[in-house]
Subunit: 307 residues, 2 copies
């Protein structure tokens, strides 16, 4: 199985309104809830691709109960979340039906106690021996020390389990120094880490900081990977229109699957770029369109770049 | 005790953001929950004024549980809500801290089954004999027939309990024909009922449709009452700045208290206008500022108008 860790899970709520008008009243015409947080999204995509996945992290309160109830029926996905006292946060996406875009409101995560963090580390240590790979995803909730991902990477490496890190800011800076197998920053996270807005320079600089491989996700420009086998670029045939929410999580799912199978880098990157674009194209945020995925996969252009 | 009925209860959520920017992402800096729905607001104000109150209507699901947990510690307020299968809706107010105003999102109410409506009517019939007055407040959820308030007014009248109706649209039109003791429409509801934007004409017209008395709430212009004792106007000394959410519910609370004590109309109207303005002045939506109330009460100007 593949293990994904989400320390800052969320219940993702979507409100659809005919048109968003600041300072006015709105009748919500459609209202949906999905289990959320980056690692949860990654696990759902992996499960849809046919991989057995286990989800861990924290969940609590009525929102946490709802999140777990929504995960329960997902085939090939096992809930190993640690129950905490604090209520799991919500995120709210208000979709403006007229403009076709989204206004996002994210509640702050609720604090985790030292006892709950210890309970999580014990659960993580139990799960690792059964994992073919582990992904550490998203922001850290209050109460978790900024070096937490570095600690979890060292534990995974000691257990001989390949580890992918997808976060930003100081948790990324600390984590990368603990030598994860793969990190997947986006353009902003790369710039924050390296100070460079040049993707080629930033990706290679990030790799020198300790990661075995770095895959930068560059939005419509596709992926740029600095790997032991060289520097690779994967580009979709044309820009895909839609909702970019979850596109990075789908890329992480494909990269994890590649890490497990040991597929060659060009193959891994083509799958990650196609799955990411197929997620942008799907009508529901965070889902991918399997037809678009199958159509795009042979048309992703993967080129080796000079370092 | 005073009974308030809220068939379409809500959990009122407030998100505070530094500034609302459509189509951008926002970190919610402050997040609060309050029990909501018009009749619930009225009961909370009555309880704060020292009246024993009982709240009935519907509540269900985790949101309903949360609403009841928030009502439980309120002194002088008893929860007699009927538990239903559907989850109670939320309303969301996004407060823009820079602009100082609010963007409102209201989820649709969830459908009530015929069995749940029958259970409510039984509960209502049990509660009425102990009530000094009853208020029927707010919109009807899906599954409740449009003549529901007319039915509940006839039941109250048969039990000899004075009844106040605060709603709009067709439920108001049908309800007023069942001869409630008092209706409290706002300017829009008056115009919808009578076709007139002239408050004096509309208030008197509304009274001719069956209500014993009509109190129109006219925002910063105060209140206009068509009563058996004549036509009265109550005006605050100066416009009050703040959040008008809940101002109408506070007026209803004061009018209900007046209905119970049988105070003269000028006194009832002064209290209702002062409490309404003190609600606008309070920093939290739906609360009233007792100091502003005490200060304003002797300064409300009540005049008898010629019909």
């Amino acid at each position: 199985m593949i293990l994904t860790v989400t320390l800052n899970t969320a219940l993702d709520v979507t409100y659809r309104v005919p048109a968003l008008v600041p300072h006015a009243g709105h009748r919500v015409t459609d209202h949906a809830e999905r289990p959320g947080g980056k690692g949860v999204n990654v696990a759902r995509v992996l499960a849809a691709l046919g991989h057995d996945t286990v989800v861990t992290g924290f969940a609590g309160g009525p929102t946490g109960d709802r999140l777990r109830a929504l995960l329960a029926p997902v085939p090939r996905l096992t809930d190993a979340l640690v129950t905490v006292g604090a209520t799991t946060r919500r995120t709210l996406a208000v979709v403006d039906a007229a403009a076709g875009d989204t206004t996002q409101f994210n509640e702050a995560g609720t604090a985790v106690t030292p006892e709950e963090w210890a309970a999580f580390r014990a659960r993580y240590a139990e799960l690792l021996p059964g994992a073919a790979a582990v992904a550490l995803c998203g922001s850290l909730p209050p109460g978790i020390h900024v070096g937490a991902y570095a600690e979890l990477i060292r534990t995974a490496r000691s257990a001989g389990v390949p580890v992918l890190l997808d976060t930003g800011g100081e948790p990324l800076r600390r984590g990368i120094a603990a030598r994860p197998d793969l990190v997947k920053p986006n353009a902003d996270e790369l710039a924050g880490l390296t100070g460079s807005r040049d993707p080629r320079r930033a990706t290679q600089d990030a790799r020198r900081r300790g990661a075995h491989a770095v895959v930068g996700s560059l939005g419509p420009d596709g992926l740029l990977a600095a790997t032991p086998d060289g520097l690779w670029k994967a580009t979709p045939p044309a820009p895909v229109h839609g909702n970019p929410t979850g596109a990075g999580d789908s890329a992480v799912a494909a990269l994890l699957a590649g890490l497990v199978t040991g597929a060659p880098w060009p193959d891994r990157l083509a799958r990650a770029a196609a799955l990411s674009a197929a997620t942008v194209a799907a009508p529901v945020a965070g889902e991918y369109d399997p037809t678009v995925y199958a159509d795009l996969l042979p048309r992703i252009r993967v080129t080796e770049e000079t370092a």
